[in-house]
Amino acid sequence: MHNDKKLFGIAATFITPNEIINAARKIAAAGFSQFDVNTPYPVHGMDDAMKLKPSKLGFVTLVMGLLGASSALLFMYWTMSVDYRIVIGGKPFFALPAFIPVTFEVTVLLATVATVVAMIALFFRLPDNKHPLHDTEYMKSVSADKFGIIIETSDVKFDEKTVKEFIQNLHPFNVEMIYYPEEESYPIFQPKFIAFLIVIAVLVSGTTYVTLNKLLYITPYNWMMEQDKLNPQKESNLFADKYGMRIPVEGTVARGFIPYPFKGQTNPTEVLSNPFLPTKENLALGKAKFNIYCSPCHGYFADGDSRLRGQFPNPPTLHSKRAIDFSDGMIYHIITNGQNVMPSYASQITRDERWAIVNYVRVLQLAKNAKDSDLIEINKETGSNGTN
């Protein structure tokens, strides 16, 4: 019966954990190295009894952990400090404390995943998917309530007769010879298996596609969701070119929007004049918008002393002679068009708000460079004696 089969090893089962420890100790002492122990639960002290060397698995964990730490750090260094530098919360571009949690996570992730994969690959001897011990009576009993030990034929000291005698002398509960078919190997990549995988993949992706894209859109009644009207970015049969969205006629101006005539000029020879008077309401609006949009760089009092100082080319003070000499229209032009590092604020701040900011900047400039004569004038206007 066993003519076409090869002996894998001789297995013995025992009833108590103490017996299995003794057996392992004796077998290791007899000089066997290719033997294994199978128990229903971990038996403490077994590594020592089997004289196992420490596992090499730790090195995989170490190497992959170090790889995880270094690659995470390198990635964050590249993205945050080199390739796409953005100031976040006033922190430096290479903000190590902020990188550490991510580094830690990637380290743990790579180390653990690599450990599990390496363990499976090493111990299960991938891509083999079958072990000679599978489906044996021996395996069934050690998975239930017996403690088993097996000496494999691959051991250099293996000799069927002496090993059998040796094992009998340990007084086991049962002895079993484990055979396996000689010729047959158990590759994981059999054509049938591959075909099975492909069929499963096609079936799963096909049903998923049909479900998500077709089945879910079958509507018993569409509740007027589809109507004969023009929808944005939809085609229309009304026009010859079938475009639903039409290109506006040349010179069209959007509602509430007047194009800025001096757009893109760095030194405009002509500017607009201020259409607003610096009333109380207008200045309040200007102050609010200035504090939101201008103060992050120029500072709350336009001194150019904001907390971004030192991270960019320093934002200039608005109390310089040059800035004071600017006409209202020129300041409006700079806000609208941008200047040097300063970008255009036309999309964030509306036209009227920009003029309000210009008025507020004038107030700041006057306040900063006030003369005694100004105070007298103010007192005259407000009728107070200057104490408030």
Binding site: P17, N18, I21, H44, G45, D47, D48, P54, G58, L62, G89, G90, P97, A98, I100, P101
Partner: protein, 396 residues
């Protein structure tokens, strides 16, 4: 699993322990008293560092005992007497804390009435941070610790003679009650003695930070004692390298825990960048304190982490002894880093003085004396403990 027979004969600890302990304690104490006459403020701060170190070892040991009982751990049973001896420091704290009450004016800004008078924040904190309540709660905490220590160690001693298994159950119950008491009292102790040195500063994780260092210090002290006694043959048949491995693993775990907590505290403050929180770290970045801060990361985390990373090093008594001594001093250094920059004269950088070295010497001497005193009365192995046999047979 061969059952080991327990035939324990009580041996006295080497006489050197008492002699060296006495010499260190006396020499350290004389110099320490001298230091109080030379520079009272600095001496008081140094006294506080050593006092907190002794709290760490004593309270941490009691925590380890309670942990063994409520976790039902077998492996630590043969060496449980070592933390019990160290926990003998707890009743002594009642005497040791008195100088801190006397010199509270040197230590605590909030203890000055005139400082509170024009400080709204300190006025708000005054219901908690006042000298009377401070003394009362400190005495209550030390009393509670001593009580738990006394009850648990008494039960353990009684078991040596009666071999009564219900005493283990009693201690499990005591341990379960002790853990929440411990959690609260160690938090308030950390706040009272260390965080309140800078009464305007606050960190909600501070108690946990001190706790993480406490356990490291207690484990280090236990490991040193265990390895030294093992080398002298006191533990020979009852302990294997697997026990040492477990001690090493716990130490490894808790230095990681310490680093985790220390970093958590730093990261949030660094991120939020609020002036009322950051100034505490900025003080520790002033002048030469910056080197102390970097050194702390290396001493308490980086070096022991790599030293204890591999399995063989955790099983090697020599490596463990070295690292345990290292970690004990690392925790002392940690406390030094927490406490000393709060001295007004050292806000801008460390100023060297011999005073910094005499107090730990006296502290080490005291710990040795108490250890020796406690070990005289008791067996080194809890021979009546029902878990002892399983503990001796412990294998990885």
């Amino acid at each position: 699993m061969a059952q080991t027979e327990i035939n324990y004969q009580k041996k006295d600890l080497p006489a050197g322990l008492f002699k060296i302990g006495l010499i260190l304690f006396l020499a350290g104490s004389i110099l320490a008293i001298l230091a109080f006459f030379i520079d009272q403020e600095r001496a008081a701060f140094n006294y506080l560092v050593t006092y907190m170190m002794i709290v760490s070892i004593g309270l941490g040991s009691l925590f380890l005992i309670a942990l063994e009982y409520i976790a039902g751990a077998d492996w630590s049973t043969p060496i449980r007497r070592i933390p019990e001896f160290f926990a003998g420091l707890l009743p002594v704290l009642l005497l040791l804390v008195i100088p801190l009450f006397i010199f509270n004016h040197d230590l605590f800004h909030w203890a000055h009435k005139e400082a509170i008078a024009d400080d709204k924040i300190l006025q708000g904190k005054a219901p908690y941070l006042n000298v009377t309540f401070f003394i009362v709660r400190t005495i209550i905490f030390i009393g509670l610790w001593s009580l738990f220590y006394w009850a648990m160690s008494k039960n353990s001693q009684k078991q040596d003679e009666t071999k009564d298994q219900t005493l283990t159950k009693k201690n499990i119950r005591l341990g379960a009650i002790f853990i929440p008491v411990f959690a609260l009292s160690i938090t308030f102790t950390a706040i009272d003695f260390m965080m309140s040195l800078e009464p305007h500063w606050f960190s909600t994780i501070f108690g946990v930070y001190y706790f993480s260092g406490t356990v490291v210090a207690a484990l280090a002290a236990v490991t040193i004692a265990v390895v030294l006694l093992k080398e002298k043959g006191y533990f020979s048949p009852w302990m294997t390298n697997d026990h040492l491995y477990s001690l090493g693993s716990l130490m490894f775990a808790f230095i990681n825990f310490w680093a985790y907590i220390a970093f958590s505290q730093f990261l949030l403050i660094w991120y939020a960048d609020l002036p009322e929180e950051t100034f505490w770290f900025l003080t520790r970045w002033n002048g030469s304190w910056a080197f102390f801060s970097i050194f702390l990361i290396i001493v308490q985390f980086a070096v022991p982490y790599f030293a204890l990373l591999t399995q063989p090093s955790k099983m090697n008594p020599k490596v463990l002894k070295f690292i345990a001594i290292w970690l004990l001093f690392a925790h002392l250094f940690d406390l030094f880093w927490l406490i000393m920059p709060n001295m007004a004269s050292m806000k801008n950088g460390y100023v060297f003085s011999w005073i910094d070295f005499v107090f730990p010497i006296a502290g080490i001497g005291l710990v040795m004396l108490i250890f020796n005193m406690r070990s005289k009365k008791e067996n080194l192995i809890p021979i009546g403990d029902p878990k002892l046999k399983r503990g001796i047979d412990f294998h990885l």
